[in-house]
């Protein structure tokens, strides 16, 4: 019980406040380095993952790109077309799961 609550907290921590783009319909020819290259024009890509299915050796057409700032993510979403290897990607913002993310430690700031 306590464990699951804390786990939920952990999931929250890793998701909240990080500007992440969720990309679908990635052509099979592109992997994370191609995505990274494309999205670098919008800002600093902190992390880019395109998970591969090790059973088949293909990825599943989905990936996540984490930027340094919301502004960069915004720039990405502003652009209508994202095309890699001639294929149009579906790009959307990855939204945190919950709204109640008030986990910041207040510490000495106010008591």
């Amino acid at each position: 019980m306590a464990g699951s609550a804390a786990r939920a907290g952990m999931a929250l921590r890793t998701n909240i406040g990080r500007p992440v783009a969720f990309v679908r319909k990635i052509p099979w020819t592109a992997a994370s380095s191609e995505l990274r290259e494309h999205f670098a024009q919008f800002g600093h890509v902190r992390k880019c993952t395109v998970p591969f299915d090790k059973e088949t050796g293909f990825h599943r057409g989905m990936g996540w790109i984490q930027f340094s700032s919301e502004e960069e993510l915004h720039n990405v979403l502003q652009q209508e077309n994202h095309v890699i290897d001639g294929v149009k990607l579906h790009v959307q913002a990855q939204r945190p799961k919950t709204l109640q993310g008030d986990q910041t430690s207040d510490e000495e700031k106010d008591f």
Partner: protein, 1390 residues
């Protein structure tokens, strides 16, 4: 399904249906040909590829009969039939064909269902003909025979319709068979042939050119008085033609007419095919003309059939002539595709390709590819690589397909055709496309599954041939798993000469060993390694390895090496940051329970690092501190704190004084007898963050009289962290003496309670709890959870009194409601001591006091394990009496299950009268899933099979969930079978889950996976809840989905019912309403919450949002009030909120409000991040709006020219003011400002204002005004730094290309600056202004400027996007790479 049923329904409605002959009914239903109902047009001749989309009508019709007499035993078959029918129907409707795999699946499924019905058999048999263009003719017939035999074995009873269906398939597949044998077979089965049978047998004879045989049957038909239809005549045309007698074939048409039957399209088609088979194009053309004259009409699909006849007979040269006649009606596209597939199957791929190219596909939309189906089928049919490459090339040239090579390669990879794949990759390379490492992964994955070492080696060799280097992922994921050890991989690869990049291999090896927890290896590798590599690449694997191996000495040694050895920390980060980040990630990757369990070892690790003098930066330390806090192990914080690097202050924080600075400052102030309160507090806070408790306490003792509450609060917290109960308590007392009304924040209270409780200071702990109540401290869910942790910790330590008294206090004070969780430590105390009688007593006691039964399940389990029969009886009597017999039975059932007493459990659940309780069953299922008890859950599902009203699907769903966790697809597959045995109809979600498990294990999914519907998603999670909770949940859910109207309505509903929700809920709702620009409703909610929840306030973020919304709605007075409220609460509003408010006031000309705000936020500017210019600009703007232009200008001028300037000139930006003045078209003001700016420039040599004005004019498109200004004040052109900043800023926004262009025209010298031309190019690229970009590039090239790679990369990408050629080699690396390169080169000017 409707497409199939439509014909039948249409007929039934027509009323005439039952009286029509079967074949007529079929035809009549078919749409498409207006005269279809009139002309009897039965099955076309053999090879009738494309005309049986209506095939299923009989099956559908039969189904209708079946529904008319529903019996219970038929019900299930019918529903399965529905399902199969739907699948096949969908496929036929969409594509006119059925993929082989689909038919196989439906067949397997039908067999599995036990006794397939006749209509199912019919459906399957009918599908084995021309609906399978991807299969060779012989394979199709084999398939039909397999189905026939298999179903017969399963007891399907065949009737004449089945025999006829089989005949039809024979005809379509041009299967050679003996019609007499066929008749004999029917006779043996005692089936009477009917007219259709004879007709088809005639066609069979005719196909073989056996007119004699056909005539015999025809005679027989006549004696039986069976009508001779057009189909028979058509067959005879074919028969004579195939017998080589074209004259008689033509004659049949005359015979027909004499018999009173007018030849229809079918007959002509037979004739046309006959000529085509002979390669007689002239006669084909003549006949086509004749058809046209007789006002008959041939459909595309008929023409396609003629094409097929030509090509199959070896006359591909005539194909184009027929192709010209095709109209390409949209609905025949699937037919065309099927012909193409069939031709490929027949190895006539060149003709197929010719037809493909002729297809009128829209080629404008380059994102739509056509021809994939062809390429895929070519790959399946082993078309030679050379041909495929040629097709790809041509498809690309014809703009039909954007990436044919890549697509074909994908097909080859999926089909594991290695040689083809290699050939295609080479072709890709030749065509100038990249060949990427991951293209080889599917091939490797295939070999890996079979542990085929030789195969792996072959692929690696192939990679080398194509000059693709395997990367680390390739080795780790696809090569290593094939071998027993990495060592043997190295040996094998070396032997085969595939070890070309030793460095990459070694790093892969390192990562692989790290993941396996082989830390010895890591250490020795790192010690002996001579190759450079980055620590970052190893980080993730190393963390996994650390968690696998608990050898702390190795942890420390490795960390030390990475920290101290220059080989590993050459990154820009440097060792402190790299190692700090590593520690953060290490702890972040662990769960709370893992950290709790490893607390001592982690401590040891940190201490060893300290010994080794390893340091980490302070900001990372803070992150780790927060992590440890959230894991409930604050005791570790001080151990990490030892590692913080203190000497070197962070360059970003040069302003922050060190503790020694502050201390001397403090002493100085003291000596001067000045107030020291603030400095003292600052120093104490600093010492607290440095975890220097001793020093902080010392300081407090020294300056006790100057201490403020803030200092105390921090100190108390510090002592709690250091487990120092004594001092914490003393400090708390002093704190109270200082200000008895002061309130600490919740977490600090909780920590105090925890520490005091831990040190046996129970009464003090209870006093703290009392204070929390008195001072109405906010209790969040997390607080209740912390209470549980405090109690549970004490219970595990066996501190009976602590648990009891603290629990009692928490509950009686009403800080938390008693719940099974919160009260469970009371029972845990005794369970831990194995004192079962008391444990049971306490549980019962809890029920009497609070109506809850904490840990009853665990108590029962233990009682059963120990065989305490009497106590079990006692427990059961109690539960039975208080909660009813059913609850008692369930408790007992679960306890028996849990303890493995399945026999007893079975007896319990078979008690007569017991029925399913979904929530309780679900509870147990979830429990099993969380603790991964497979057997227990399996037993639960098994034992509840006969339980009344049991939701079997839900239980199986839970079981599948557990199998999914364990990746056990075999068991999941068995569930699928069991569900069918039990006759359960699985819900969509169950099927989806099952499919997911199978797919994850790379198994075929034997069923159609249903899609998820929105409302279903919703209902998945809903379970009965009390109204209050369910409303709250609904509300939060609505908030989550951003449905503000729904959310507000739920709020109103709850308000009516007088239901009050928690703090967080209201906060969420208010935030949502504000985000949706609805301040009135937001205020309504806020007022309600404030009146119903004591101490309800909005936090910083919500208040800021409120201000923004109020500003947007033009409620400036309200916004100002909100700002005041927030500041009163000592909140820090956001910069955006304050700025917006100020700007809004300015536009209203409300100077006073701006000045009020200035006073309000005085001293907080830095915290908010407000620049002074915000006030200067906006006050001036407000004054201008009030027509006090002169005052505004005078103020600014004074500020700029006065002796003691408070601000450096370069930061004195008036751009905002200018922009607003220009935008608002305040011409007189603009003129006066311009005069002022020029005066400042000319008389005072202050150029910043005039330059800003110039730039704003350019930006607003007032280029002429800008030019005039520049002419009057030439010095503007020399203010290069200001202009460059402008360029760089603007290049980040789109739509600035015109501004940049004008700027460059006005100040041409700008082009010499790298920052300028780089930014300008960036702008052009952002706006896709190719022409300007070209001009810029050419201009620069003419000047022989050495352009940086980033610039070139941008320009190249722009050109490529515009479809133009790039006049230089495009820099190969990524944008990021060059951006970094450029940055580095600037930081390090050699």
């Amino acid at each position: 399904m409707s497409a199939l049923l439509r014909p039948a329904r249409w007929l039934l409605r027509a009323g005439a249906a039952p009286h029509l002959p079967l074949s007529l009914r079929l035809r009549a239903g078919g749409p498409g040909r207006p005269h279809a109902a009139l002309c009897l047009r039965a099955a076309p001749v053999a090879g009738g590829v494309l005309s049986q989309a209506r095939l299923y009508a009989i099956a559908a019709e039969k189904k209708n009969y079946l529904q008319e007499e529903p019996t219970s035993s038929h019900g299930r078959n019918a529903s399965q039939f529905d399902w199969a029918l739907m699948r096949l129907d969908n496929s036929v409707r969409r594509t006119g064909r059925i993929p082989k795999t689909l038919l196989q699946k439906v067949f397997d499924n039908t067999c599995h269902s036990g006794s397939p019905g006749g209509n199912q058999a019919l459906l399957l048999l009918r599908s084995c003909g021309s609906l399978l263009p991807e299969l060779k003719l012989s394979e199709r017939t084999e398939f039909a025979h397999r189905i026939w035999d298999e179903l017969q074995k399963l007891g399907t009873v065949y009737d004449v319709s089945h025999y006829n269906a089989l005949l039809k398939v024979y005809l379509q597949n041009e299967y050679k068979f003996s019609p007499t044998d066929f008749l004999a077979k029917m006779e043996k089965a005692n089936i009477q042939p009917n007219r259709v049978t004879y007709q088809r047998l005639i066609a069979a004879y005719c196909n073989m050119g056996d007119i004699e045989g056909a005539s015999k049957i025809l005679e027989f038909m006549k004696t039986k008085d069976l009508p001779v239809t057009e189909a028979v005549f058509s067959a005879l045309v074919t028969g004579h033609a195939r017998a080589g007698d074209m004259e008689n074939a033509e004659n049949i048409l005359t015979v027909m007419k004499e018999a009173g039957i007018e030849p229809g399209p079918d007959t002509y088609l037979a004739l046309l095919n006959a000529y085509a088979e002979k390669g007689d194009i002239d006669h084909v053309k003549q006949t086509l003309e004749k058809v046209e004259m007789s006002e008959l009409y041939l459909m595309d699909r008929d023409l396609l059939q003629i094409i097929f006849s030509f090509s199959k007979a070896g006359y591909p040269q005539y194909v184009s002539e027929i192709l010209e006649k095709i109209t390409y009606e949209r609905r025949y596209i699937p037919d065309t595709m099927n012909l193409i597939l069939l031709l490929v199957t027949e190895k006539l791929e060149d003709t197929a390709f010719q037809i493909l190219l002729a297809c009128p596909i829209s080629r404008e939309d380059s994102l739509n590819d056509f021809g994939s189906f062809f390429l895929r089928h070519c790959v399946t049919m082993n078309t030679p690589a050379e041909k495929l490459k040629d097709y790809c090339k041509k498809l690309k040239e014809a703009h039909m397909h954007t990436s044919p090579f890549q697509f074909t390669l994908q097909c080859a990879l999926l089909a594991k055709k290695i040689d083809l794949a290699k050939a295609l990759m080479k072709a890709l390379k030749e065509e100038g496309f990249p060949v990427r490492t991951h293209y080889f992964w599917p091939l490797l994955a295939g070999h890996q599954k079979e542990k085929n070492v030789q195969g792996i080696v072959e692929v690696l060799k192939g990679m080398h041939e194509i000059e693709v280097t395997p990367d680390q992922e390739t080795y780790i994921n696809y090569v290593f798993p094939c071998f027993d050890s990495v060592k043997s991989v190295r040996a094998v690869l070396k032997e085969n000469g595939c070890l070309h990049e030793d460095n990459i291999f070694s790093q892969a090896e390192l990562r692989s060993e790290a993941v396996n927890g082989n830390l010895d290896y890591i250490l020795s590798f790192l010690e002996s390694n001579t190759l450079p590599f980055s620590f970052a690449s190893l980080r993730g694997s190393l963390i996994l390895g650390f968690r696998r191996s608990m050898d702390i000495n190795l942890w420390s040694k490795i960390t030390e090496l990475l920290y101290k050895d220059g080989r590993y920390c050459q990154e820009p980060l440097g060792p402190t940051e790299a190692v700090g980040y590593f520690l953060y990630n290490l702890i972040d990757s662990m769960s709370d329970s893992e950290v709790q369990a490893k607390e001592e070892r982690l401590r040891q690790y940190f201490h060893q690092l300290k010994e080794m003098n390893v340091k980490i930066p302070e900001n990372i330390y803070r992150g780790i501190r927060n992590l440890l806090d959230s894991y409930h192990v604050p005791e570790l914080i001080k151990d990490v704190n030892m590692l913080v690097e203190r000497e070197k202050t962070d360059s970003r924080k040069t302003t922050q004084p060190t503790s020694s600075d502050l201390e001397s400052k403090l002493e100085k102030l003291k000596a001067e007898n000045q107030p020291i309160g603030d400095v003292l507090k600052q120093l104490i806070l600093l010492l607290c963050t440095e975890e220097n408790m001793e020093k902080a306490l010392e300081l407090k003792a020294k300056y006790e009289s100057d201490m403020v509450v803030g200092g105390y609060a921090a100190l108390i917290n510090l002592c709690c962290r250091h487990d120092n109960a004594e001092d914490a308590l003393n400090l708390k007392r002093e704190f109270d003496r200082l200000d008895s009304s002061a309130v600490l924040d919740t977490s600090k209270y909780v920590r105090l309670v925890r520490v005091l409780g831990k040190h046996g200071k129970l009464q003090d702990a209870i006093n703290i709890l009392k204070e929390m109540k008195e001072k109405d401290v906010l209790i969040k869910d997390a607080t209740v959870l912390s209470f549980f942790h405090i109690l549970n910790g004490a219970a595990l330590r066996g501190e009976t009194e602590t648990v009891k008294q603290l629990h009692e206090a928490i509950v009686t004070l009403g800080l938390a409601k008693p719940s099974t969780t919160l009260s469970s430590p009371l029972v845990t105390l005794y369970l831990e001591k194995d004192d079962l009688p008391t444990a049971l007593e306490v549980t019962i006691d809890c029920y009497e006091k609070y109506k809850i039964l904490p840990r009853i399940h665990d108590v029962l389990c233990k009682l059963i394990e120990k065989g305490e029969t009497d106590l079990i009886q006692k427990a059961m009597d109690f539960v039975s009496q208080e909660q009813g017999e059913m609850t008692m039975l369930y408790d007992l059932f679960f306890a028996f299950l849990q303890t493995g007493n399945y026999k007893e459990a079975k007896k319990i659940i078979e008690t007569p009268g017991i029925r399913a309780r979904p929530t309780r069953l679900q509870w147990f299922c979830d429990r099993c899933i969380t603790s991964n008890q497979v057997e227990t859950l399996e037993k639960l599902v098994e034992l509840t099979q006969k339980l009344f009203e049991c939701d079997r699907d839900q239980l199986y769903y839970s079981l599948l969930k557990l199998y999914k966790v364990n990746g056990d697809w075999q068991k999941a597959d068995a569930v699928w079978n069991k569900m069918q045995e039990e006759n359960i109809i699985p819900r969509g979600k169950t099927l989806r889950l099952l499919a997911e498990i199978l797919r994850n294990s790379n198994q075929e999914v034997p069923f159609d996976v249903p899609e998820l519907y929105e409302d279903e998603k919703h209902s998945l999670t809903s379970s009965p809840l009390p109204v209050e909770d369910s409303l709250q949940k609904e509300l939060l859910d609505a908030c989550h989905r951003k449905k503000n109207k729904d959310a507000f309505n739920i709020f109103l509903k709850a308000q009516k019912q007088n239901i009050v929700f928690g703090n967080e809920t209201y906060a969420s709702l208010i935030k949502l309403l504000l985000m949706k620009d609805n301040p009135t409703q937001a205020m309504h909610v806020k007022n309600f919450a404030e009146t119903h929840i004591k101490g309800f306030t909005l936090n910083d973020a919500a208040n800021s949002l409120l201000i923004i919304t109020q500003v947007r709605r033009d409620y400036l007075k309200d916004a100002l009030t909100t700002l005041k409220t927030a500041l009163d609460l000592e909140q820090i509003p956001s910069r955006v909120a304050v700025t917006r408010l100020i700007q809004a006031c300015a536009l209203k000309g409300d100077t006073e409000s701006i000045q009020d705000i200035q006073k309000l936020v005085n001293g907080l500017e830095d915290s908010i991040g407000l620049s002074r210019m915000v006030f200067i600009n906006n006050i001036a703007l407000a004054q201008i709006k009030n027509n006090n232009i002169d005052v505004a200008i005078e103020n600014i001028e004074n500020m700029l020219t006065s002796e003691n300037q408070s601000m450096e000139l370069q930061y004195f930006g008036l751009a905002y003011l200018y922009r607003k003045v220009i935008e608002e078209q305040l011409e007189p003001a603009l003129e006066k400002i311009s005069i002022m700016a020029e005066r400042l420039a000319n008389q005072f040599a202050i150029y910043k204002p005039v330059t800003d004005l110039f730039l704003q004019l350019v930006d607003s498109g007032k280029v002429n005004d800008a030019r005039a200004l520049l002419q009057r004040c030439g010095a503007i052109a020399e203010q290069i730094p200001i202009v460059l900043v402008f360029c760089i800023r603007n290049s980040r926004r789109s739509g600035k290309a015109p501004t940049m262009k004008s700027l460059l025209e006005l100040i041409p010298e700008l082009i010499e600056k790298e920052e300028a031309y780089t930014s300008i190019m960036k702008s052009y690229v952002l706006d896709s202004d190719v022409a300007s970009a070209k001009a810029l590039y050419e201009n620069l090239a003419a000047k022989d400027v050495k352009l940086n790679d980033l610039f070139l990369k941008r320009y190249a990408v722009l050109l490529k996007k515009a479809g133009e050629s790039v006049p230089f080699t495009e820099p190969p690396e990524s944008f990021e790479f060059y951006a970094k390169q450029l940055k580095d080169s600037k930081e390090d000017p050699l």
